[in-house]
């Protein structure tokens, strides 16, 4: 498997992989938060904004490690 980071080319515009991983991480965290809100599971967290930040980081690192290679 290729482990060398490479840019994403969109119509000749090169996007850094960290930006792509970060955006996807935030989107996934947003979706997870919406689900947790819907099923009232977010009440078990002490401070949800920090949980959101942590989720964004975790997703970004996971995507960066296994999907887009940062």
């Amino acid at each position: 498997m290729n482990t060398i980071p490479s840019e994403f080319a969109v119509g000749g515009v090169y996007l850094p992989p960290l930006l792509v991983a970060g955006c996807l991480g935030v989107l996934l965290a947003y979706w997870t938060a919406a689900l947790l809100n819907r099923y009232r599971l977010s009440r078990y967290f002490f401070y949800p904004p920090l949980v959101f930040l942590a989720l964004s980081l975790i997703y970004s690192v996971l995507i960066g490690t296994y999907v887009v290679r940062i």
Binding site: V13, N37, R40, R43, P48
Partner: protein, 723 residues
């Protein structure tokens, strides 16, 4: 606004927008978009409002430029002093912006322009003065061009609107009065509630304020007597509050035959009726004026003797409020007469109520906690933006310092505006403008093409969008199109600007947590805690045992009085932002009832705080001191527990306690009065009954709050969730 007017207004704004770019580019001025900003921001539906905003923009630009030059002169080589001074200036301007609603735009400009000028040329400070001058010149040019176009092309004037709004305002006040009169006399059931009418008048007062600002800018006649219009506004506000206090005590009068105990009540109402009927007529020109006749409202002492103590107390409270009502309506009528050029003076020029110590301390200069917090938010956001720029230098570079500070000012001005909701509109409008920049602008080779493009985008913006959406679209047009005389195109630079704008708003959302949770339900909880803390403090300062007040003590009273006075309006604003879908257990009406109960509590507390404590010397009240003291402690403790948990005291237990206490005190008063031979010094009697009337009023209002709080699902409000 009709479609045709909307079309004309959009045309005027677009024309002015294209024209100012043409002038600035032709003259070779620095940053032509400064003039474009002036047009985009001052384009308002009426010429008067635009002139007013334009004047504030010009005048506010000057202190902003001076502050920037001074900061640069002092701290050009020291980044930390530079940051502290800039944050200090932003703190000051934001505080003034939220404190003085009338001049808020002046202070917005003073803060925003300072940030713009400070970093207008990063490579050298040599051009800074030039930047400041061009900023002023282009702002003035933008304002002048838009004003000329709005005055000569399909002018939309406000002339005469102030009289129309005044007539409507007095009509609204009259409706509240008539509602109160009919309720008091038990005439009929009303269709609209007092709250609905009060809300309507509050809206009319806000409209009147806006009209006064805008018409004052375009009419010399209005400007000349502006002090009288200001007085009219102040008296209307006082009258609204006075009527609120008056009506809050009606429930306690149900057992009294008022017409028997107040023989002059009918004639008093007749005079007030004619005053309220005359007020709108004075403004519409149907009547020249109405000379206010003096009103007497004495209690028939023989009938009053037969009343129970608490009924006498309620009667005293009512009489006091009606005297105040009479005084205010006379002053309002006279003011209206003067505004119509009628110099006839009635016997009573000003409200004659002598302010008590508690009213006088309201004039102490005290900060508002929310204003301080807003100012701190803007200062800290500017500071953190500066640190992000100098330590990480992400895309956007100095914009992190400049733009985030400016946007923070906007969030501070409207705290209930959720920063998270701004991210998507900014991303979409900026993406559209980026596409224009990439695909259309490089095809243009003359100003004819550029001018047409600017005209079309601004026209579509003004015609299709309104409010915040229009503002963001204007921001995207001005930031993404980057028009200059030496036009170069760089996709890289603009893509970075795009990324920065989206990141900037996300950063703002994160920073908005400094203002507390952005959740409206949490804010309501927090405001209620503050409300009852202040109420508890004020009750403790009015306790029978309290000694003389120091200067600091008076200042603290003034601080808490201001809190108490301002919090119901803030509660109202935040409660409307609560998302019903998330809280299906509570209807908007239930939440509204909770807010109204806090307003009633304020009215009753004001009445109570205005009474004087008499039982230090007088024999009858001295004997009842212990009863009053325990009542006082009980109220204070209730407020204390509500300041920690808003639903702490269940309504049934409170009601039981109040009823038992009232019966016991009633018996005790009767026995004490009997022992003193049924006689009570008149002055002592009035003061004492006003005092216990005040206690009862506060207790009844507290009971109403407990009832409204009982139906709220507080557990759900306290639950954590992602916002």
């Amino acid at each position: 606004m009709s479609k045709s007017t909307q079309l004309k207004e959009a045309f005027k704004t677009a024309l002015a927008f294209a024209a100012v770019f043409g002038i600035a580019l032709q003259a070779g001025w620095m940053n032509p978009y400064w003039a474009g900003w002036a047009v985009a921001v001052i384009a308002l539906p009426s010429a008067g409002a635009s002139i007013q905003k334009g004047m504030l923009r010009i005048v506010g630009t000057i202190p902003g430029c001076i502050a920037a030059l001074a900061i640069h002169a002092v701290a050009a080589q020291d980044r930390w002093t530079f940051m502290l001074l800039t944050c200090g200036w932003m703190f000051f301007t934001t505080y003034m912006m939220v404190r003085k609603e009338k001049d808020s735009y002046f202070w917005v400009m003073s803060g925003y322009v300072c940030l713009m000028i400070l970093l207008s040329d990063l490579d050298s400070s040599a051009n800074m003065f030039e930047s400041a001058v061009f900023r002023n010149v282009e702002t003035i040019m933008g304002v002048v061009v838009y004003t000329l176009i709005s005055v000569f092309l399909w002018p939309q004037t406000n002339l005469g609107a102030i009289k129309k709004y005044s007539a409507e305002l007095t009509e609204g006040l009259g409706n509240i009065y008539r509602f109160g009169r009919d309720t008091l006399l038990g005439i009929k059931e009303q269709e609209a509630s007092f709250q609905q009418m009060q809300e309507k008048v509050v809206g009319q007062l806000a409209q009147f304020r806006e009209i006064l600002q805008s018409e004052g800018s375009e009419s010399y006649e209005v400007k000349e007597v502006r002090h009288l219009w200001e007085r009219f506004y102040g008296l209307s506000q006082e009258l609204l509050e006075s009527m609120g206090r008056w009506q809050s005590g009606f429930a306690e009068l149900s057992r009294i035959d008022l017409q028997l105990v107040l023989p002059e009540l009918q004639s008093c109402f007749a005079e007030l009726d004619s005053r309220f009927a005359a007020l709108p007529d004075v403004f519409t020109g149907k009547a020249a004026t109405h000379l206010a006749q003096p009103i007497r409202l004495d209690v028939d002492s023989a009938t009053a003797q037969g009343l129970a103590s608490f009924d006498r107390a309620a009667l005293e409270v009512l009489r006091k409020e009606m005297v105040q009502l009479e005084s205010l309506t006379a002053a309002l009528l006279e003011c209206a007469g003067k505004l119509q050029g009628n110099t006839t003076t009635s016997r009573n020029a000003k409200p004659k109520a002598i302010p008590s110590l508690w009213t006088r301390v309201m004039w102490f200069p005290v900060p508002d906690w929310d204003h301080l917090r807003s100012a701190a938010f803007v200062a800290v956001t500017t500071g953190v933006g500066f640190l992000i720029w100098i330590l990480f230098d992400p895309p956007g570079h100095s914009g992190w310092f400049q733009l985030t500070g400016t946007l923070a000012l906007m969030v501070a001005a409207v705290p209930s505006l959720r920063a998270s909701r701004l991210i998507v509109p900014v991303a979409v409008t900026s993406a559209v403008c980026l596409a224009i920049y990439v695909f259309i602008m490089p095809q243009l080779s003359s100003f004819r093409g550029l001018g047409s493009l600017l005209f079309i985008v601004m026209f579509l913006n003004c015609f299709l969008l309104s409010g915040m959406a229009r503002f963001f679209c204007s921001m995207a047009i001005l930031n993404m199109l980057q028009i200059s005389n030496q036009q170069v195109y760089s996709f890289y630079a603009m893509a970075n600007v795009y990324v920065f704008l989206v990141m900037g708003f996300t950063f703002l959302f994160v920073m908005s947590y400094l203002l507390g949770s952005p959740r409206p339900d949490k804010m309501v909880l927090h405001l209620l805690e503050r409300f009852f803390s202040s109420a508890e403090f004020l009750m403790s300062r009015k306790a029978p045992e309290s000694g003389p007040l120091s200067f600091l003590g008076r200042w603290r009273i003034a601080f808490h009085l201001r809190q108490l006075h301002s919090l119901p309006a803030k509660l109202g604003a935040w409660s409307k932002a609560i998302d019903q879908k998330r809280f299906p257990d509570n209807s908007p009406e239930q939440i509204q009832a909770l807010v109204m109960s806090t307003q009633t509590l304020v009215y009753r507390l004001e009445q109570f705080l205005d009474t004087s404590v008499v039982y230090r010397t007088e024999p009858v009240s001295l004997e009842l001191r212990e009863n009053v003291k325990s009542w006082h402690v009980s109220i204070e403790n209730t407020f204390g527990s509500w300041s920690r948990t808003p639903e702490a005291e269940p309504v049934d237990a409170l009601k039981q306690r109040l009823e038992t206490g009232l019966v016991r005190l009633e018996r005790h008063i009767a026995s004490v009065v009997n022992r003193s031979g049924g006689e009570m010094n008149r002055q002592e009697g009035e003061s004492f009954f006003q005092l216990i009337g005040g206690y009862r009023g506060v207790s009844e209002a507290a009971l109403a709050y407990a009832g409204a709080a009982q139906v709220i699902n507080w557990g759900r409000w306290r639950e954590e969730r992602f916002s």
